[in-house]
């Protein structure tokens, strides 16, 4: 029974992905990205049939296990675009620091102004980086790792969905701008979106996501101590 459930949810996830990926190709609106559509459908199905997340994850974990190697695989576009990265190393450094600082400070400021407590403030500053780092920063600074996961998801999916509109609005069409905006603001989910734009955007986005993770994990706790 357990085994059957496992295979069932694994199969359903794969099936939904295949269907929604095809649908996204037919209707390429930003809000149709498969991460969002698949997640929404699965959450609705699971909650309406009263299936627990643990039951779902017994099947989902087989897909989740590939996420780590996939992040490792980002070395591939990075290596292929090494000349580009080398050429723009100063620009990359400047934008990484900007993205990390703005992510921390704007999150901090908006949460403080809205009257949220210290726990929320400490958690929100790391929302622009990849989940394990955000959770780590949250627990280091007295935040709540479970909330960190939610913030990271909103920043990731929200950024991947609204990014294309924002770029149009601000007239951003350059690969360095687009790549770093996705990697710096929406981490790995943004990088998955940047892959749609091209290999140069993806390479910049991957380097952005890794360097911002490093930068925020070092700067986040420090800045929080200074400004509060």
């Amino acid at each position: 029974m357990m085994l059957l459930q496992m295979f069932f949810w694994l199969f359903i996830t794969l099936l939904l992905y295949v269907v929604f990926r095809r649908l996204y190709q037919l209707l390429p609106y930003p809000f149709m990205i498969p991460v969002l559509t698949c997640t929404v459908v699965l959450v609705v199905v699971l909650t309406s049939f009263d299936v627990s997340y643990d039951t779902y994850f017994s099947g989902g974990q087989w897909i989740d296990a590939l996420l780590g190697p996939a992040i490792v695989a980002l070395a591939f576009p990075l290596y292929k675009q090494r000349k580009l990265l080398n050429k723009f190393k100063v620009e990359i450094f400047a934008t990484v620091v900007t993205a990390s600082l703005l992510g921390i400070l704007s999150g901090y400021w908006l949460a403080v102004v809205s009257g949220y407590n210290e726990m929320i403030v400490s958690t929100i500053i790391s929302k622009n980086v990849t989940t394990p780092v955000a959770m780590e920063v949250a627990s280091m600074t007295g935040g709540q790792p479970a909330f960190a996961v939610i913030f990271v998801m909103i920043a990731g999916i929200g950024g991947a969905v609204t990014g294309p509109w924002l770029f149009q609005l601000l007239g951003i069409s350059n690969f360095l701008g687009i790549g770093m905006a996705f990697g710096g603001a929406s981490h790995a989910i943004g990088t998955a979106k940047a892959l749609e734009y091209g290999e140069r955007e993806a390479a910049i986005s991957s380097i952005g996501l890794s360097l911002c993770a490093l930068c925020v994990s070092l700067l986040g706790p420090l800045l929080l101590k200074w400004i509060s």
Partner: protein, 137 residues
């Protein structure tokens, strides 16, 4: 009749070969992930194990210790389907649906606005700096 049968067999075996290569290469990438995780834990590094693994692989590729052919097909397969790999984690949001009611709900626009600030400013700065470099040449 016979040549056609052989052709189909050849096609099938090349297909199977391709999937075998992809699986082996993903296994190889998984090794880097494990090593990265181990290093992250033992050295208490501030970045996740997967990013450590990525950096090790990148160094290996740079120094030509690892030929690009050892990972190219597996890496492309994983990156082509990167959105799928996030789904099991993001579905975890169902455990926190009560978060989206009451006062916490306001945190959603806050996170979005902060994300737009980062995206907009970083995008504009990146574009400006890249263009300036192109003009200088």
């Amino acid at each position: 009749m016979k040549p056609q049968g052989i052709k189909v067999l050849q096609l099938m075996s090349s297909r199977i070969n391709k999937y075998l290569i992809i699986s082996l290469q993903i296994g190889f990438l998984f090794g880097f992930y494990l090593v990265g995780g181990y290093l992250q834990k033992t050295l208490a590094l501030p970045v996740p194990g997967s990013v450590v693994g990525m950096l090790i692989l990148l160094i290996g590729l740079y120094l030509k210790w690892i030929p690009i052919q050892w990972i190219s097909q597996g890496a492309s397969a994983l990156l082509n389907h990167l959105p799928l790999l996030f789904v099991p984690v993001t579905v975890g949001i169902m455990q926190h649906l009560d978060f989206f009611s009451g006062k916490s709900l306001w945190l959603v626009p806050i996170v979005l606005v902060s994300t737009w600030i980062v995206m907009g400013a970083t995008g504009l700065l990146g574009q400006f700096l890249a263009n300036r470099k192109e003009w200088d040449r």
